[in-house]
C-alpha cells in the first residue's frame, strides 16, 4: 500500500486536522467530532446545508464548506457513512434558526444515519429537511430497489442549493431547488484501477493491466461492464450516450458539464475527455453554459473519471453563477 499516511486508523482525524490548519479562514472542526463547519457558523437566519458521507471522496464534502455552498461536512470512516450523532452535532452547530437541509447521497447507510440524525434534531426543535441525490445512470432506477447511487452530481446540489440559501431562500425554497437539481442531473463514471481503503491495506477488487470497468461506483461498487481499455473518445461516447438518453437531454437544452477525476487520473486526461464531451453536445444541439473540470468527488486514489450533466433553466444559471468561496470550490 503506497500511501503518505501514519496509522491507517487515524487518517480521517489527521486529514481533518490538516484541513483546518490549511483553511482556518474558511472552516473549523467541532471538537471530538469528525465535523467541519464554516468558520462563522451558525449564520443567523440563513438556511444551513449539511452534507457528508464516508471519507475518501475528498474534496467532498468538507472541502465545499464555505460561502455559497455547505455549512457543514460530516466525515465518516473511509467509505462508511457517519453515525447519526456526528450528523446531529453538525446540524446543531450550523442551525441559524431557519432550518437545516441534509444533502444525502443515495446509499442505504447514509440515508438511515442522516435520517436518524434528523429525527434527533427535530426532537430538539430544529427544522430539518432532506434530499437524496441519485445521479448515477449506471444503476437502473426503480422504486422497488435502492435506486441509483449518488455520485459527483451531488456537487451541483451543493452549489445551487447553497447559493439559494445564501440568497435568503427558506428551507422549503432550498429543498425545492435541490430537488430540481437532482431531477435534472445525471452522471456516469468509469475506473481504470481500484483504490485501497487504508484500514484494509489492499484493493477490494482487481482490474487486469488492459481492463477498465464502466459504470463503476465511487466506493468500488461494480459497474455495468468490464471491457478492454478503450480510447478516450469511444469511452466518452459510451458514457455520454447513457447519460443523454436518461433524462433525456435534447437539442436546444442548455447544460452545465462536470468532468470529475476520481483521484489518480491527471487533468490532462480529464481535458481530453471534455474535448469529446463538448463535441458530442455540440453535435446534439445542446449548449454548454459552464464547465467544471477537476476532482470533486473522488475515490481515494482510483484512476478514472465521471461525467455529469445538469440541465439548466434561468434559476439554475443564476445560482450557478453566484459567488462561492470554499476551500475546494471558488467562483468570483
Amino acid at each position: 500500500m503506497k500511501k503518505i499516511i501514519n496509522n491507517p486508523e487515524n487518517v480521517v482525524q489527521e486529514m481533518l486536522d490538516g484541513m483546518v490548519a490549511a483553511y482556518p479562514q474558511y472552516v473549523r472542526k467541532i471538537d471530538g467530532f469528525e465535523v467541519i463547519v464554516r468558520a462563522n457558523a451558525p449564520i443567523k437566519g440563513k438556511v444551513a446545508l449539511v452534507s457528508g458521507g464516508g471519507s475518501g471522496h475528498e474534496p467532498s464534502h468538507a472541502g465545499f464548506v464555505g460561502k455559497g455552498m455547505l455549512d457543514a461536512g460530516v466525515a465518516g470512516a473511509v467509505f462508511t457513512s457517519p453515525t447519526p450523532d456526528q450528523v446531529f452535532e453538525a446540524i446543531k452547530a450550523v442551525d441559524g434558526g431557519a432550518g437545516v437541509l441534509l444533502v444525502i447521497k443515495n446509499y442505504t447507510g447514509d440515508i438511515m444515519n442522516f435520517e436518524m440524525a434528523g429525527e434527533m434534531a427535530e426532537a430538539e426543535g430544529i427544522k430539518v429537511a432532506s434530499v437524496v441525490v441519485n445521479d448515477d445512470v449506471a444503476v437502473e432506477d426503480s422504486l422497488y430497489t435502492s435506486g441509483r447511487r449518488g455520485i459527483a452530481g451531488t456537487v451541483f446540489v451543493h452549489k445551487i442549493a447553497g447559493a439559494k440559501a445564501e440568497a435568503g431562500g427558506t428551507l422549503e425554497d432550498v429543498k425545492a431547488v435541490a430537488e430540481k437539481v437532482i431531477k435534472n442531473t445525471r452522471s456516469m463514471g468509469m475506473a481504470l484501477t481500484p483504490c485501497i481503503v487504508p484500514a484494509a491495506g489492499k484493493p477490494t477488487f482487481t482490474l487486469a493491466e488492459d481492463e477498465m470497468e464502466i459504470g463503476m461506483g465511487i466506493h468500488g461498487e461494480p459497474g455495468t461492464k468490464r471491457t478492454h481499455i478503450m480510447q478516450a473518445d469511444d469511452l466518452v461516447d459510451h458514457l455520454m450516450e447513457k447519460i443523454l438518453d436518461d433524462i433525456p437531454y435534447k437539442s436546444g437544452d442548455e447544460v452545465a458539464v462536470m468532468i470529475n477525476g476520481l483521484g489518480a487520473t491527471p487533468l490532462m486526461e480529464q481535458f481530453i475527455m471534455n474535448r469529446r464531451v463538448s463535441e458530442i453536445l455540440k453535435k446534439n444541439g445542446i449548449t454548454v453554459y459552464r464547465t467544471f473540470v477537476g476532482e470533486f468527488m473522488t475515490s481515494i486514489e482510483m484512476a478514472g473519471a465521471s461525467i455529469t450533466l445538469l440541465k439548466l433553466d434561468d434559476e439554475f444559471k443564476q445560482l450557478l453563477d453566484a459567488q462561492a468561496d470554499t476551500p475546494a470550490f471558488r467562483q468570483l
Partner: protein
C-alpha cells in the same frame, strides 16, 4: 428460564464474542456483494457495546438493550449501524424496566426488533437483507408457546433464511447495485443476524442445562 441483568450482559458478551470470531468471514461475504466492511463495522460496534454495558449489571434489562442499540448506532455507521441499533433500542423499549426476562419475553423483543429494522430500512422479506433471517425466526417464535425447543427451531429457520438469500437478487442495500450479479452469494447481514440468534440460543441452552 429467567435471565437477570447480569446474565443478559453475559449473553450480549457472547454475541459480541461470536461476531468478533466471524469478523473476517462476514467481511469476506460483504466483499463479494458489498464493500467489504460488514465484519469490521459489526465488530467495532460490539467492542464498544461490551465496554459500555460492563457496568450495567444493576440496571434493568430494557436499559441494557437500549444502551446496546444506542452504542451500535453511534459507533457502527453504514447500513448495519442504524439497523441493528434500532433493533436493540426497540427490543429495549418492548421489555421496559423489567429486572429479568423469561422465555415469554423473547418473541416480544425479537418482534419489536424486526419491526424496528423494517421501519428503518423499509425492506421486506425476499430482498436479501437481515430480514430474510430474522423474520422467519420471529414467525416460528410466534407460532407456539415459547420454550427452548421452539427457540432452536427459530434459529434453524434463520439459518434457512440465510441459505435462501443465496438464491435471490438483492433489492435493498449496497448489493442491489449488482442486480443479477448478486445471485449465488449469501447475504452478510442475514448471516450476522443468524450468528446473533444462534449465540443467544447457545447461551440460554447452557444456562438451562
Amino acid at each position: 428460564m429467567a435471565v437477570n441483568s447480569a446474565e443478559l450482559i453475559e449473553i450480549i458478551n457472547l454475541i459480541a464474542h461470536d461476531i468478533q470470531k466471524n469478523r473476517d468471514f462476514l467481511t469476506e461475504l460483504d466483499s463479494a456483494i458489498g464493500d467489504a466492511d460488514h465484519g469490521i463495522n459489526m465488530s467495532k460496534g460490539f467492542k464498544a457495546v461490551t465496554e459500555k454495558i460492563s457496568t450495567m449489571a444493576d440496571k434493568d434489562c430494557g436499559s441494557i438493550l437500549k444502551t446496546v442499540g444506542m452504542t451500535l448506532v453511534s459507533t457502527v455507521g453504514g447500513a448495519s449501524g442504524p439497523l441493528y441499533g434500532t433493533a436493540f433500542m426497540r427490543a429495549g423499549q418492548a421489555v421496559g424496566d423489567k429486572q429479568q426476562l423469561g422465555f415469554e419475553d423473547i418473541p416480544i423483543l425479537l418482534d419489536a426488533a424486526l419491526e424496528g429494522i423494517k421501519m428503518r430500512g423499509k425492506a421486506v422479506k425476499g430482498e436479501k437483507t437481515i430480514i430474510d433471517a430474522l423474520e422467519p425466526a420471529v414467525e416460528v417464535l410466534k407460532s407456539s408457546p415459547m420454550d427452548i425447543k421452539l427457540m432452536n427451531a427459530a434459529v434453524k429457520a434463520a439459518k434457512d433464511g440465510v441459505e435462501y438469500t443465496k438464491g435471490i437478487i438483492a433489492k435493498k442495500g449496497r448489493a442491489s447495485y449488482l442486480g443479477e450479479r448478486s445471485l449465488g452469494h449469501q447475504d452478510p447481514g442475514a448471516t450476522s443476524c443468524y450468528i446473533m440468534l444462534s449465540s443467544t440460543y447457545k447461551a440460554i441452552l447452557d444456562r438451562n442445562n
